[in-house]
């Protein structure tokens, strides 16, 4: 759940951003100005599409774990998010 009166800090490709607690990783990417989650098999930039964990377009790396869904993962204090992964 989102409480606008407090926030948590995460990094997106090394850039630190603050988001409301409970905000999705996809929300953190947009807050960091990154509209790219992964690169497609032909190298195109992609971003979250279905928003509900079905299309798999929003796969990013979170704290070293690849293929986590940005739309369905909640931000936690100190999370390191890396985008632009292939495949």
């Amino acid at each position: 759940m989102i409480q606008p009166d407090s926030s948590c800090a995460v990094t997106v490709n090394g850039i630190s951003v603050r988001v409301p607690p409970g905000a999705s990783v996809a929300a953190a990417l947009v807050a960091a100005g990154t509209l790219c989650t992964r690169r497609s098999v032909t190298g195109q930039m992609r971003f979250a599409f279905c928003g509900i964990g079905q299309c798999q377009e929003c796969r990013v790396s979170i704290d070293g774990q690849p293929h986590r869904l940005a739309c369905r993962t909640s931000c936690k204090e100190g999370m390191h998010i890396v985008t632009g992964g292939e495949g």
Binding site: F47, G51, H67
Partner: protein, 413 residues
Amino acid sequence: MKLHIIGSGPAGLAAAEAGLAAGAQVCLIDDNPAPGGQIWRGGPGAWTDPRARALWEQVKDHPRLTQLQTAQVVGAVAPGSLLLENETGGTLVQFERLIVCSGAREVVLPFPGWTLPGVTGAGGLQALIKGGMAVRGRQVVVAGSGPLLLATAATALAAGARIEAIVEHQGLSRLSRFGFGLALRHPGKLRQAVSLFAALRGIPYLAAGQIVEARGPDALQRVVVRTPRAVREFACDFLAAGFGLSPNTDLGQLLGCAIAGGAIEADQRQRTSVQHVWAAGECTGIGGVDKALIEGRIAALDALGLAPTARELSVRRQCHDFSALLARSFALRPSLKDMCRPETIVCRCEDVTASALGPHGGWREAKLATRVGMGACQGKTCSAACSFLFDWTGPGARMPIMPASAGALSQIE
């Protein structure tokens, strides 16, 4: 008596409330971090629907409730056994009575540029905003077909976005017939529609409109749409493009439930064709929150050997009547196939274009030759598009129904 419920959206919460009130043990399983499903997404702190709050109040601290959040159903392993995966790994869950409330997926159809970052489903954008994605001051175009376009526009507007246009593919005559149907049989729904339109006053609403293309280069910058009168171009940061919803029947199929008209078949007590398995909500047919609430309640009552009241059955009939009106009014028109050009990507996972798919005779043949549907989404996005574009019968569901780790799968003996 113990009930397992898959999904904690309106149907799942209504089933849980009815089950607990009738004295059952309830295990509520959901793949999201917070309850509410898609319509009540964002968790209890973000809910505005009083029905969501009322249900959650009855359910949340109940001593006979077990809740498994962030638990993805990977598949049905054996009769009465499901494999779940969460952050810590895989778990087998045994059930006696199961209520499937697996919801729906958005139908998304390919058009040039639909893979650009910034293009989302219509419900997709709504879900992302409910998940805290900031759109304040951003330009948004909502396009496609169906009532979800209005709801998405309203959500984006309330979050501070500038809605440039709402583009609805159905023409005014079909839309007015829908409005007339609402007025005649569903006055509550008509009031909702009227209040949505009122909230969106001043925003261009283009009926009989169609997306021509979304333009980049690397991320969305503009969208071109065509109406019977003109071709128009809008600058935008987000294009929310949706063409309706389709029941998510994956788990139902794995359990062996009969599927009819693309939905899990359920009788008026929400029984599926499989003994001890009930289904409720959007997975039995698209009809919205009211249908989900009554079906969830009836499913839980029947699973516990209790009969619904005549009034409850009448509410259910009314909801199904609305569901049929919705399906009639917003059936996808063949002209939407024109959006997809030969060079347009259809399978987003494997970057397979329409021209690569066209020569094949069916889903299986195309899959073997082009890798369509063989990526991470397992055809969840492109199989509906291929069914519409090429009249192919899509794939059946198979284990695992979602990407799963080898560790989780190793739980299967």
